[in-house]
């Protein structure tokens, strides 16, 4: 006879650990890729991961800075939250640069850090760091889980906060005893955040006001930022620009929000922006900013920024409106919702033919230029070759500096979400790990990491990952044996005193790549570049190409610090 061991009305629930609950919470969020690095405080989580049959990939980078930048690259190309797991103490503090970078560039990242057990928090225990205190100013929000019953709800909230409104990084700190705790709990995941209700739809009165101003404007200009990309509003932006024949300039991070080859595109504005874009800002009488934050690298000296313009600013974050530039028409809204509302308004066609003519003359007379070297590889020319070889369809990631500016200037981004760069924080070492995340997020795309010889050396250990995962990332080192932008500033503003900016002792990058099992190539003659690039791009697997370029090249045009956008130097040869 069969004996019933328990009453029938008791639901059969498995005893699981907090770590299992955590993994299940990630599965419930639809996570497909996790970037992580194990350690003492996250051992229970890694054990749960090992035991779990969850279908997501765990990518083990070789440094926590690598995992967070990879998660940023993933988030930038997919629009979904990048997920990071790191251990307590040093594991968590190694993430700080990347978390700050994601905060500055509004990238949705959810970071799970291990923490020492709650019974020893505050005792300077082994590998304890106050990660909540440290990350408070550099996160959109952060949590420490102190009760296992809160864990599923907190995970849900964290994803919600990271991905909605103005995206940003959210840290969830999980003490070891919470992830070890046994439970049969079936926990509540409903949440209500009364203090967090982002405004998505624009105020109709402000839209009317903006349309009215557009009708009267003689020299209107659109400035598109990354907000357009986050909102998925590129089609609406194009329709709006074409409907009223509005010229469009973008910020560095807004590249790709409007087709770079479109006749209304002026290219990037700002410190290394095009003459046509910067002059259009200076001369415009109506500047419509959509999802950009008027960063100082864009505005130059504030007093010379769009001095004659009425400024309209569409932003999902009300705190950005009026922060740097006085705004006449504030529109708090998601870029897509605002553009849709604007498209519904039928402002009669504004007449600004002469304005467009002037802009086109500027575009033709003062295009981006460089002096092509007769013997060596000009870095700008190299970027153009990469553009040709990839049909302009690759995802480009970069570090910060000269190579970044040349990539921004000469790779004409026609499509959205193909440009992954560190804008606000300007993080060296970002480009290569970001390419790993981008490739995992967009497995069918060609991903090219255009990096400098300086920045690459900050995170090159991730060569292990592209080898291990057989990721066909192509690394192009724009090698000028210098911290190029530092050197350029020393040349321009410090009478050529090249203090600690020349890197003549670089390693042999080809051998370095080979030691990681990655195909390495070197090119130092212009004539060989097309063949080398073709070989690299057709090779089925990761390739590193060490491109020896002109060493003393500078990025032009340039707005010197403290100057206005109309005072560019190096506009022509």
């Amino acid at each position: 006879m069969k004996v019933e061991a328990k009453p029938k009305d008791v639901v059969d629930r498995k005893v699981v650990t907090g770590a299992d609950v955590f993994i299940q919470a990630l599965v419930n969020e639809g996570v497909d890729t996790v970037f992580g690095y194990p350690g003492g405080a996250v051992l229970p989580i890694y054990d749960a991961l090992y035991r779990s049959n969850a279908k997501f990939e765990h990518i083990l980078c070789r440094h926590e800075q690598g995992i967070i930048h990879a998660a940023e690259g993933y988030a930038r190309v997919t629009g979904r939250a990048g997920v990071v797991i790191a251990t307590s103490g040093p594991g968590a503090t190694n993430l700080i640069t990347g978390i700050t970078d994601a905060m500055m560039d509004s990238l949705p990242i959810v970071i799970f850090t291990g923490q020492v057990g709650t019974n020893v928090i505050g005792t300077d225990a082994f590998q304890e760091a106050d990660i909540i205190g440290i990350t408070t100013p550099i996160t959109k929000y952060n949590y420490q889980v102190t009760n296992i019953a809160d864990l599923p709800r907190i995970v849900k909230e964290a994803f919600h906060i990271a991905e909605t409104g103005r995206p940003g990084p959210v840290v969830v700190d999980i003490p070891k005893n919470i992830s070890q705790e046994l439970t049969v709990g079936d926990f509540e995941t409903d949440f209500y955040l009364p203090g967090y209700q982002p405004t998505v739809n624009p105020n109709p009165l402000q839209i009317k006001k903006l349309s009215e101003s557009l009708r009267r404007a003689k020299r209107p200009l659109l400035l598109a930022g990354a907000g357009v990309l986050f909102a998925g509003a590129t089609e609406e932006l194009k329709a709006f620009a074409e409907k009223y024949q509005l010229p469009v300039t973008t910020t560095l991070l807004g590249l790709g929000s409007f087709p770079g080859n479109h006749s209304l595109s002026l290219g990037m504005a700002g410190m290394h922006g095009t003459y046509a874009a910067n002059m259009a800002i200076y001369e415009s009488d109506l500047l419509i900013n959509i999802g950009a934050r008027f960063d100082d690298r864009l505005t130059g000296a504030i007093k010379h920024f769009a001095p004659n313009a009425k400024v309209a600013h569409i932003d999902i974050d009300p705190a950005e409106i009026g922060k740097n530039i006085k705004t006449n028409i504030p529109v708090v809204a998601d870029a897509k919702a605002a553009l849709k509302a604007l498209l519904l308004e039928d402002a009669e066609d504004p007449d600004h033919k002469s304005w467009l003519e002037k802009i086109n003359t500027n575009k033709e007379t003062y295009p981006l230029w460089y002096e092509r070297s007769s013997s060596e590889i000009s870095p700008q020319w190299l970027i153009q070759q990469i553009y040709e070889e990839t049909n302009g369809e690759a995802i480009i990631t970069t570090d910060v500096g000269q190579h970044q500016m040349w990539a921004a200037q000469f790779y004409k981004f026609d499509k959205p979400n193909k440009w992954v760069t560190s804008g606000g924080l300007g993080t060296m070492g970002f480009g290569f790990p970001a390419a790993i995340g981008a490739q995992l997020g967009a497995p069918d795309s060609q991903v090219v990491a255009i990096v400098g010889d300086g920045g690459f050396q900050m995170t090159l250990q991730e060569l292990s990952v592209i080898y291990q995962r057989k990721l066909p990332v192509k690394i192009i080192i724009v090698n000028n044996e210098a911290l190029g932008m530092v050197r350029q500033w020393q040349e321009t503003f410090y009478e050529e005193r090249y203090s600690e900016s020349l890197l003549s002792e670089n390693p042999d990058f080809v051998k370095l790549a080979e030691s990681y099992g990655v195909k390495g190539m070197r090119v130092d003659k212009e004539a060989e570049v097309p063949a080398v690039l073709r070989e690299a791009f057709s090779y089925d697997g990761p390739v590193l190409v060490d491109c020896r370029v002109v060493k003393r090249e500078c990025v032009y045009p340039m707005v010197a610090p403290g100057k206005g956008n109309h005072e560019m130097i190096g506009v022509t040869k």
Partner: protein
């Protein structure tokens, strides 16, 4: 200009640190801050007195406060009909001889002596900050040994004049 700003916040862990951290990161100068529970469980009320240079900065301050996920409501009540009060504890050096004299000084302020020892008195005063200032300066000659102020906490009055003609200051 000096502004009084109140915020209702969710009483979650680290909320005070989050807010003061944001204020210092963005370069706002806090003169005082007072925090305490409100009539609703789980909701706290903060009152800030800040010195702000212009209206653009003020707008930034309220927007940045509002942006905090734990913050439910932010009000700049400086120009409204309101009551603003603080409490101060003042330990004054006092021997038996001048005890009565000090009592005479504090009486018009409706302050009270809450502790007496052989060589000192502790005086408690509540009121508008300038009233507290005034009492402190009157007591200074007697030798202030210790001083602690709570910072201002403020409320809108039950009835707001419509429309508002006079501009209020802290002196209400």
């Amino acid at each position: 200009m000096r502004r009084i700003i109140t915020a209702t916040v969710q009483n979650r862990s680290g909320v005070l640190n989050r807010i003061t951290g944001m204020l210092s990161k963005r370069g706002f100068n806090i003169e005082s801050i007072s925090v305490g529970t409100s009539e609703t469980e789980g909701i706290s009320k903060m009152t800030f007195v800040v010195e702000i240079s212009d209206s653009q900065k003020l707008e930034q301050l309220t927007k940045q406060l509002n942006k905090q996920i734990d913050v439910l409501k932010v009000s700049d009540i400086t120009d409204k009909a309101m009551v603003a009060r603080e409490l101060a504890l003042i330990k004054v050096g006092s021997t038996g001889q001048n005890r009565n004299e000090i009592q005479g000084v504090i009486t018009p302020f409706r302050a009270s002596v809450i502790d007496v020892s052989r060589d000192s008195l502790i005086i408690q005063v509540t009121g508008k900050p300038d009233k507290v200032d005034a009492l402190i300066s009157l007591l200074r000659p007697y030798g202030i040994k210790e001083l602690s102020r709570t910072g201002v906490t403020a409320f809108l009055r039950g009835q707001q004049p419509q429309p508002l003609h006079e501009v209020n200051t802290l002196l209400i």
